[in-house]
């Protein structure tokens, strides 16, 4: 059980601000290296965007829609056996839009067959495409965009572009105009073996992670919002939280990169060259979600685990972001998702812009939320006819909700665009002792990206502390 802040000591080796998957993993690795670690979380619950909430007997997962197989290796190395063994495949991924309808396991073998048989792409082109994306590295040339990559291999084939892009746009907010490498790395991760989920739900994952941190001696405090990172003589001295200063030679911020620079450390801690880079960071889009709970004895047919649905004629990144978008995913949580919990839940997710929702008056905001729920139900009925009568809980979240719970700039769901990675990676060279971990650069976002980044940053911190 996490503690309240008054139980925290006056100083630690490392303070981690924020308990998203990146912060949790850095805390774990640093305790494994033998450091005395304090983890401070603003919310009352750990996990950051890897979170859930309970309503009316339902448990709704926010960001458990699917992750790549790489999570197995990562959890095995950096977390526990029990966590690793709860990772299971989602075998039925459905696409339904005016251009095509299909069901797939979303892996290279199945995609190769689909591209060849259904989309009539010659085998050598498919092989070359997969070889090209699999060979992409983050330090490669970034001038080619995903749009150019698709045009090179599948010129004019908007249906193929949609098949390849739509899921990745939902997975990390990237568009056809982002660097092709960000697409290639994430897409290849999924194509390795398909889409996986965590059996037992996000609540189980975070409980197991918390127990593991406690076994490793990490001091965890919730309801602890850090107001300031204390920088003195150009170096980190600690953090200020609830009017109290706790000292540490190293601070790892899992708050957003922009929040970390502007709100926590403050512009005065950085050089103008660094600020110029930071000012150019574009945060990623946010999300809307509709949470749908079914009555106790109600059930629905198995129509797939993850449905990419759209009634827009072609894929268009801007259309996906529009408040009135005709594109959304449905994640269907059957009772098997949470053994022992026999309820059905469905979460609809859409990409969305903070500005669109933030500019609304309170009255307009409420009515837009209701309209969002109504549109979602119309779409849902196409897959589960008559489902409305089975529903006993409906609730919507908007970019403002994500902003309120994570404090992230504009409620970003997937951190920043590519340029955020270089700033995050170099912040400790700018202010010794200050590290950033968390979704940045598209490739370091998502559950897998955030956990792996937590390991990478812990390595930097260990190296730094040993050098001072």
């Amino acid at each position: 059980m996490p503690f309240s802040l008054d139980k925290a000591a006056a100083s630690y080796d490392v303070i981690v601000i924020g308990s998203g998957l990146g912060g949790l993993t850095s805390a774990k690795r640093l305790s494994y290296c033998g450091y005395k670690v304090l983890l401070l979380e603003f919310h009352h619950q750990l996990g950051g965007l890897a979170t859930w909430f309970k309503r009316n007997g339902h448990i709704f997962d926010i960001s458990l829609h699917g992750f790549p197989y790489g999570m197995v290796k990562t959890c095995k190395k950096y977390w526990t056996k029990e966590i690793t063994e709860s990772i299971v495949q989602l075998k039925n991924i459905v696409f339904d839009n005016p251009q095509f309808s299909l069901k797939t396991t979303f892996d290279r073998i199945d995609f190769t067959a689909l591209l060849n048989k259904k989309f009539k792409i010659p085998q050598p082109v498919i092989d070359r495409f997969f070889a090209t994306v699999a060979g992409m590295n983050f330090y490669d040339d970034q001038t080619m965009t995903t749009r150019e990559l698709f045009e090179e291999f599948f010129p004019g084939r908007t249906d193929v572009h949609r098949l390849l892009m739509e899921p990745i746009t939902y997975a990390n907010g990237s568009t056809l105009d982002d660097p092709a490498i960000t697409y290639g790395i994430v897409f290849s991760n999924f194509m390795n073996k398909g889409v996986f989920t965590f059996e037992g739900g996000t609540d189980k994952l975070i409980r197991l992670m918390t127990e593991d941190l406690e076994r490793n001696g990490v001091m965890i405090c919730t309801n602890a919002k850090v107001d300031r990172i204390v920088v003195e003589k150009g170096k980190v001295r600690g953090v200020e939280v609830n009017g109290r200063v706790i000292t540490a030679p190293a601070v790892v911020s899992n708050s957003g990169i922009t929040n970390t620079i502007y709100d926590l450390a403050g512009r005065e801690a950085f050089t103008s060259d660094f600020l110029e880079q930071a000012d150019a960071i574009r945060v990623n889009n946010s999300s809307c979600q509709v949470y749908i709970g079914l009555k106790k004895d109600a059930d629905i047919e198995d129509r797939g685990d993850l449905l990419f649905t759209s009634s827009a004629p072609v894929f268009d990144s801007a259309e996906l972001l529009d408040m009135q978008t005709h594109s959304k995913t449905f994640s269907v949580y059957y009772p098997k998702t949470r053994p022992g919990h026999d309820r059905y839940a469905i979460v609809a997710s859409m990409n969305s812009r903070y500005e669109d929702w933030n500019r609304l008056s309170p009255v307009a905001y409420e009515s837009e939320k209701q309209a969002l729920i109504a549109r979602t139900l119309i779409d849902l009925n196409r897959y589960f006819p008559g489902v409305n009568d089975k529903i006993d809980w409906l609730e919507a979240a908007t970019p403002k909700t994500f902003n309120r719970y994570t404090l992230h700039t504009h409620g970003t769901s997937f951190g920043t665009k590519f340029e955020g990675l270089a700033v995050s990676r170099s912040i400790f060279k700018e202010v010794p002792g200050l590290f950033h971990v968390g979704s940045v650069g598209i490739i370091m976002s998502g559950w897998l990206g955030a956990i792996n980044y937590g390991v990478i940053v812990a390595n930097d911190v260990d190296s730094y502390i040993r050098s001072i």
Partner: protein
């Protein structure tokens, strides 16, 4: 540390990272990455373990020196001569 001891150390660390790693057919002069299916996160783990066990600081620009078993030994030998 002797060259053989360094070799054992590296293999032991890899075994900790991946208990299924098979060293039977391993060619010491060929890249570890291809033969043992190691990715960049695995190499980071090797670096972190070496720091943990032997207080070695391996700068990022030297990571390529860890490519094969032979190159690991060559690179680590002077650093571990008193270990």
């Amino acid at each position: 540390m002797t060259r053989d001891a360094i070799k054992d150390l590296v293999l032991e660390i890899i075994k900790d990272i991946d208990e299924d790693a098979d060293f039977e057919a391993l060619q010491a002069d060929q890249p570890l990455r291809d033969q043992l299916d190691l990715d960049s996160m695995d190499f980071l783990d090797i670096v972190m373990e070496l720091r943990k066990r032997h207080k070695l600081q391996i700068p990022e620009e030297d990571y390529p020196q860890l490519a094969s078993l032979d190159s690991c030994v060559n690179y680590l030998e002077p650093l571990l001569k008193n270990a």
